[in-house]
Subunit: 454 residues, 2 copies
């Protein structure tokens, strides 16, 4: 690949040149010869003027494939839609996969959408309208309605004829779904097993009825888990009464897995890592809201320390261990947060009850806190030659870690149960929260011990 990558800028400039000099045939030959993903990258990189020229040179059908392959989660579609004539645009949407068309049309305002719909084929509009009803991040919102279906009392030969006739339009032809006359899903046959069967075998003799399928309202994480576990290329989506509605294909699931991982990761760090090519002011603008919010939460910790000012005046040695205790408890809280968020996102039937989760995290916190507490007790006692000071710091560390562990684990679980996205409880948030409780614990315990070491 490396050759191609090194020269891709030259290829692009050559394409620009052909467009500007109006060498239509040469442009079409070279442009359409590229993989559709590369075509879409060129399209996005062209200038406004070049794109206007492009619409003269390519058919709506050719543009529809480009639109199908652009990830509009990451690209703002608006400026592109506005420069295309309504007739051309509706022809594009007519040719696109209905799931992708629905995704784009969701972002367009109602009036414009209606204008586009009036120029499109009524069947396609109905399909797209139906898809737009499904909740975001469910199987319904991911599926496409272009799948291959046959009936059970067909022969392999007649099924193959059906498949060949719709092969060009279907999103995948490698799974063939068997439906009854009410469109209920009976089973699946792989194209592979059709190919190696005799022409006159009946579909009903080949069909695999132990089919993995999902309800249209199933959340996308669950759908992704089926793909991972069962190594699927496509998964049928059915209504509550088993009517086949569409299929989710593996390429869409790769994007879901990627997005989910990205959002867990971004959440943990308290920063959105979606767009990495921003200038410093944009980047700072993205990070500052969290930082400033946490700064004010941190002010709570500061006023708490202020409240204990008399203790620090009595024994300035106490100031030494503030950051050690808040830092270590914050680290422990972040660990348990990360484990807890993962546990929610792989959320499956093995998931234990709320109570058993709490008990297990309390136990983990107690063990972690005990080991860390004893360690710091030993270190401080020897370093400062003061066992009572060591004891105060050790006990405070033990309590602070146990509480931070519990908080790191319970906050996301609680948010999840209440219907919020647990990934919002980021690592920095948990550390800053735990600063507050750790300081309170530390000074309360130090207050009890202070007469032994001043």
């Amino acid at each position: 690949m490396s050759d191609e990558i090194e020269t891709s800028q030259e290829v692009f400039e050559h394409l620009q040149h052909l467009l500007r000099t109006n060498e239509i045939a040469a442009f079409r030959e070279e442009f359409l010869d590229h993989h559709i993903y590369d075509q879409s990258q060129f399209y996005l990189d062209f200038s406004d003027d070049e794109r206007l020229e492009l619409y003269n040179v390519l058919s709506p059908d050719e543009l529809s494939e480009i639109f199908d392959s652009i990830d509009f989660d990451e690209v703002n579609i608006e400026p592109y839609l506005r420069e295309i004539s309504p007739e051309y645009l509706s022809a594009i949407f007519d040719q696109m996969s209905s799931d992708n068309a629905a995704d784009i049309l969701m972002t367009v305002n109602k009036r414009e959408r209606r204008a586009i719909f009036t120029l499109m084929s009524p069947e396609k509009v109905t399909e797209i309208r139906n898809l737009m009803h499904y909740d975001e991040e469910t199987a319904g919102s991911l599926m496409t309605t272009e799948f291959v279906a046959v009936v059970a009392n067909q022969t392999v030969k007649s099924a193959m004829t059906v498949i060949k006739s719709i092969a060009e339009d279907a999103e995948t032809i490698y799974y063939v779904y068997v439906l009854d006359t009410q469109k209920q899903l009976l089973g699946v046959i792989s194209l592979r097993s059709l190919l190696i069967s005799h022409d006159d075998v009946l579909i009903s003799d080949l069909v695999n009825e132990h089919i993995i399928k999902v309800d249209v309202s199933e959340p996308q994480e669950r759908v992704a888990k089926y793909f991972r576990d069962y190594d699927l290329l496509a998964l049928p989506v059915v209504s509550h009464d088993n009517i086949m509605l569409g299929i989710v294909t593996v390429d869409d699931i790769i994007d879901v897995i990627d997005d989910e991982a990205q959002s867990d990761y971004s959440g943990l760090a308290g920063v959105n890592t979606d767009n990495l090519n921003q200038n410093p002011v944009q980047a700072a603008g993205k990070r500052l809201p969290w930082l400033i919010a946490l700064l004010f939460l941190g002010m709570g910790t500061a006023s708490l320390i202020d409240h204990f000012d008399s203790l620090v005046s009595q024994a300035s040695v106490l100031a030494i261990f503030i950051s050690l205790i808040t830092g270590t408890a914050g680290n422990a809280g972040t660990q348990s947060l990360a484990v807890s968020i993962r546990r929610i996102s792989v959320n499956d039937e093995e998931n234990k009850s709320f109570i058993s989760l709490i008990l297990r995290e309390i136990a983990t916190g107690l063990v972690t806190g005990a080991v860390t507490g004893v360690t710091i007790f030993a270190v401080v006692s020897i370093w400062k030659g003061n066992i009572m000071l060591g004891l105060a710091v050790g006990v405070a560390m033990f309590c602070a870690i146990t509480v931070a562990n519990l908080a790191g684990s319970l906050i996301p679980v609680g948010m999840d149960r209440l219907g919020f996205d647990p990934a919002v409880a980021s690592g920095p948030f948990i550390s800053t929260m735990s600063d507050l409780t750790s300081v309170f614990i530390y000074f309360s315990i130090a207050g009890m011990f202070i007469r032994f070491f001043t």
Copy 2:
């Protein structure tokens, strides 16, 4: 699916019952009727005795499919291998996909491996031996050698005959690769386009020569990126002289994407989130090494504060802002760490030079630090009615954030350039490191300002 999930425990118990009461025919019928993934879950859940019985009831071929579907990254294979007879075991490996067989046999010690090899078919052993040579986490280590190849001067009809004859063994038949007589890769045809073409068309007229392919040594992240961008089901792997060696299939790539995301995430939190079902002592054992290591790093910060003890004795108000400054700088460092690690892992041709990366992060740190510094200056000045104290805290905050930002960004980039895994520089590590620099900055600046506010 929910019905099936609720009853899966009953199904399992019924299977156990059939095994124990030796109802072989009934067991085989029910067991083999399940999806191969479910079969593998049952297999792993059976007791030792039940598995020994299973080897009598199932053929090595049937077991080989179960072995193919188990993710041995997450399951320790050893105890299973040890309970199976050498003859049966070598028959399993003979039937498995060579990539999965190679993955498992890599983990077996040399002597045992040789014993298994002597009982296997020599061709399969050669295939597996070849696969074992490729570096981990490269295209070579992911690929399988079971692909479908035809030559260019064949007709569609004769190609379809080839495909049907090897359909059962090939990992995927949906892409057909066109090779010359030296086994060099010329292009690809989808099964879809073969199906809709006439029998007597020549392969050379259909072949798509703009093929996406990877070199056998290409890292797996790059391979995953091709799958994501080009929506592939399989990707051919070639040697440096374009000899076709194998294919990587999309199901293996989903596991790669998952593992990569998991390891970035685990790194950021300083805890391995691979195994979520551990008892509290195991869980604590996994978290403690990091915590204790960071505790000792934190002791550095504590001794630094100790060093500045005279400042705290003079103005105990200084203690109030220690955790605010270390916490906020730690949060900023974690954000820039997360962005930096993401940037490395999507590492591609757009990647800027080292110098421009540094300059951009310095600029982002300056902007973030300035806004946060001004905010805290205002808050502290008003709260404590002391502008000079506010100034000291504000300037310290500005410097601490700039440094933390730079460190969070440079440490992983530097580690990557030196050949270490940047994900080891976890969030907790960066916050603890930045505690040290923040405290130093804070007290140094406070020392300069102290005569104005005591």
